[in-house]
Subunit: 229 residues, 6 copies
């Protein structure tokens, strides 16, 4: 299904998106059973942003960013554009001009399985971008890809309409149908972690808080006073 632009993308639950943005990648990833995380080579172009939004996807070819221009038209306020590439490439297919355009259309951020340029300017604009590389390498507009088809981006399957959550820890994808459930589980997890943190701050040990001692002993963990001879 190449050479196709799908205009209508289902919308994930807005409250779930807001909760996931607040709770962040690590919590969302754990809350959905440690699934959906992109490879850790996906890094923020500047540190400190955290966004969640509806996934709009573009599938490009190496050295070619034409489909990002096509995608800009179908982006709606609150979306995160996810750009996959048909083979591994670090070429700089995204920069400040496209960021200006996407921001004007309402995009919350961009996730690129390719390179990004204008790094300094994007940081000044405070426009959130995650990419596999920073590279000034320019791209052409010659080959058709697709917009809003399911893609694999940095090892994660992304279906248009899924929720994309991104922060300094990376990028995670939550399937649309699971968003409400995952957001609730993430809230619960965050609550528990806050309680745990208060205990840890006082010097209590995870060994006791999580009740690990019995399991460790059963597995045969031995405590010695010094190295074995």
């Amino acid at each position: 299904m190449t050479g196709v632009v799908v205009r209508r993308v289902p919308r994930p639950d807005a409250a779930a998106v807001a909760a996931l943005e607040r709770l962040g990648v690590a919590t969302a990833h754990e809350a959905q059973g440690r699934a959906g995380l992109m490879h850790p080579y996906m890094r923020p172009v500047w540190r400190g942003a955290r966004v969640a939004g509806r996934a709009v996807t573009a599938l490009c070819h190496p050295g070619d960013n034409w489909m990002i221009h096509v995608a800009a038209e179908v982006v709606e306020p609150g979306d995160v554009l996810v750009v996959a590439c048909s083979s591994e490439s670090t070429d700089g297919g995204f920069g400040a001009l496209l960021a200006t355009s996407l921001r004007a259309r309402g995009a919350r951020g961009v996730v690129l399985d390719l390179g990004c340029r204008d790094a300094a300017e994007l940081a000044e604009m405070r426009f959130p971008v995650w990419s596999r590389a920073i590279s000034a390498k320019g791209t052409v507009k010659a080959s058709l890809g697709s917009v809003n088809v399911p893609v694999v981006c940095a090892g994660a399957q992304v279906v248009p309409g899924d929720v994309v959550v991104a922060d300094d820890d990376g990028v995670v994808v939550v399937p649309r149908a699971a968003a409400t459930r995952v957001a609730a589980a993430a809230e619960e997890r965050a609550r528990k972690e806050a309680a745990t943190r208060a205990r840890l701050e006082k010097g209590e040990l995870g060994l006791d808080i999580y009740g690990m001692r019995a399991a460790l002993a059963e597995k045969g963990l031995r405590y010695l006073d010094g190295p074995e001879a």
Copy 2:
């Protein structure tokens, strides 16, 4: 041609150098036909610097930084020292002492196809360095290389006297003979981009500004309301 130091290096046009420094790597790279860019593994040791200058080159061997000391003598105010290595190495052949020396000789910055150490101190000094790694690994002074011979650095050919431009997006090399032409093309490109940006900010689409719709249709791009069955 190893074991050689060439003292005299031709000087690129000063106005072109100044313009390229102002316009930056991405624009310079596009303006010369998407050529001359170093591999994206070349990263600034600290973010926010932008320099351009005459290329002075050193060719070192892995784990050996002797030729950087030799090069320091032939560096002149405004130069950027480009250090290549005869095989891939991340050893930290450059640090705060060499930076102090090069700054005292007038160097604008350093580009290293090897590692860099004293990262915190270089950031405090605001001395611009691009390198393939940050590494404290020390180096010896045992093998002759050369100074001011043509080198390949991070995949780009650098001839002494070329213009090196470096910023947060990476490093690009502009051949000396092309500097004036490339600077002019870069100025023109920057002017156009400013105009384009103003239109994009208002929400106009690249599809329309660049007139892409006809070419996309001719290639067979199809718009659908939803996923194909």
Copy 3:
């Protein structure tokens, strides 16, 4: 020797530890004959920290951080926890909760041959962490490793009780028995570098300060006015 926790770890000389923390990784590494450095993929999660401390070690399995919880109990004030992994993994086995726990126990920092998550929060907490990756990938608590056994971490042998020094340049290990000698050599080296720096700042050349000209000539270095025909 797996499934073992060694409770008692010898303590390196406190004055040596303090000196090494002040002098930093690059100087310590040179002072002990360019040995003990971890691979340069070990990077600080946030820039600007510098710590030294007694090494406490944990050996984990890929995707499993159980032994970090076990190690937390044996950490004492001033320690640096070094976490090795039985095969290469970037999974995020360490985050803000464990940092909270370790700080409460007095740890000065953590060195991970695996991934780290909660990067933004760790930066806010100013808790020093070095890791091979930033990754939100969650881990399990299923397989026994060991605590306070000798490990290889990022290419460096670490014996519990050694001194670990870490800053923006990376991580170096100084054997406990060598700590006093290395600290003294590092002090001496720092003194010499300060003197050298003052001369370099005035424009003197390393070629002259280090007396390199004779050795270069003997090796056959030739100075030319321009490129050889």
Copy 4:
């Protein structure tokens, strides 16, 4: 959907599978519009095998091969087992014993986004395996994954029932619904290539056979007798 084993997997068209096995990866990949290829780090453990079969999938965790044992029960004659991993790992979760078991159940081969061991023995057995690494690193049986759920393996989406084609060029996935169409297109492509090859062998040029000269001229390709001044 973790901790799940799906027993029934739809069967792709047998004639299409046979044709794709005969035609191989490169032709199948082109015939379906250059889609579905796994990353090139997937290499055969021994050279010279070519297989196609119904995809049966297993999703494992790093350092854990439990689900491969579970998958062995649902493998049927003619299947290719595709093993994905929830994060990047090269641990050797597959070797000669599992190969013996899978061959006894009728599997045509195995595709592993992890490591493989017993390389010499697998070559002797002539059991076809593609993997991202050869590694003797042993694995545990501790964490539940799933069998016959959709997975991402080496950058390609694999749905149980798809056709997996693998040879010395790598691994490609053809969606079950597209198998007949892709096989027919691949046959057609192979026919055309045979005709083209006969002409190329006689010294005719691709420039003429494919009629490229006009397009090259239109793009502005210039022929020179020697380098430009």
Copy 5:
């Protein structure tokens, strides 16, 4: 401890060495609790060799193979020379001449955490070499390292006198004191595997042979007839 050659190296038990050579890397690695394996980037220069022997070590610097020449003098019949490097390098510090010398001294093979050249000739000679790369890059003889000191090679600690086992699956190190115990455990393991294999060949499942069904059920594994809605 650099600039040192240790002449006398303890000898591991000869019967254990012979058994480990016969049983190979994967079995030896499992038999000692999945420890001691070098990183999987260590590959045989030609496929099909299997050796075990007493470890003699050399520590070189990047781009410098001087210490291999020094090590040749202390190699004794049956030894495997293990060459570590003080930083990561792929330079080709070993080739057919050194192989000729080492074979004349009785070495069983060589393990290199650097590059190897003369690959075709080494295959013809049937001299077993494992290395991280094949590279013709020449090296110098300028910096002292050491011979027969403990080293870290490809992530594994190697003490002179340990047993090194290498085959197509990679390289594993067995500490000298553990050699007899590990060899016995490996024999036992091989016996069990032969019995298991006979059952697997008949189509019995690992699930039943290893008795995994209860543990899987307890963890909550669910069998479904088709994908969940």
Copy 6:
């Protein structure tokens, strides 16, 4: 200088080319002062070939092999085609059809800084190819590059008319003007190595043959009977 095809390429000395092909990469590389070697990621698609020939160059863009078709017309008997890429790519831009065409035109082999497909068929054809990857990923014919301009390929500068030598050790480039001198030095080196080998086979040590003992002693190498306390 993009979009250009240079028809006439100077011819290196035929006797030098023949000698370099006979002597191989490692010897040629040493004979020209350890220069001109491509990165070790360049590997033969099948083992056992050795070729040397005049370099004809093509500069392609990622995912685009159009210029290889253009280059086929200017290839003459005895040439080696060197294909560079404007950014890093592993896409399979070369396969059996192009090999058939190039062989028909007299090419001795191909060196690709991109991927290669039809690996099994190329091995059967015995057509020599070196590449950075084996990948079935198809390419387009959309962007102009150039033919017979100077390129950087895998870290080495290649000027049309240079001699390219390739075998199982990798690929080295000898500048045309240096070919005769390098071939003579390589012959001399091979003669010396044959004599050295005869002595090494008898058990003489490189330490004595090369007279290294004095230099080692002067550097301070110490021989000990056992490990230092």
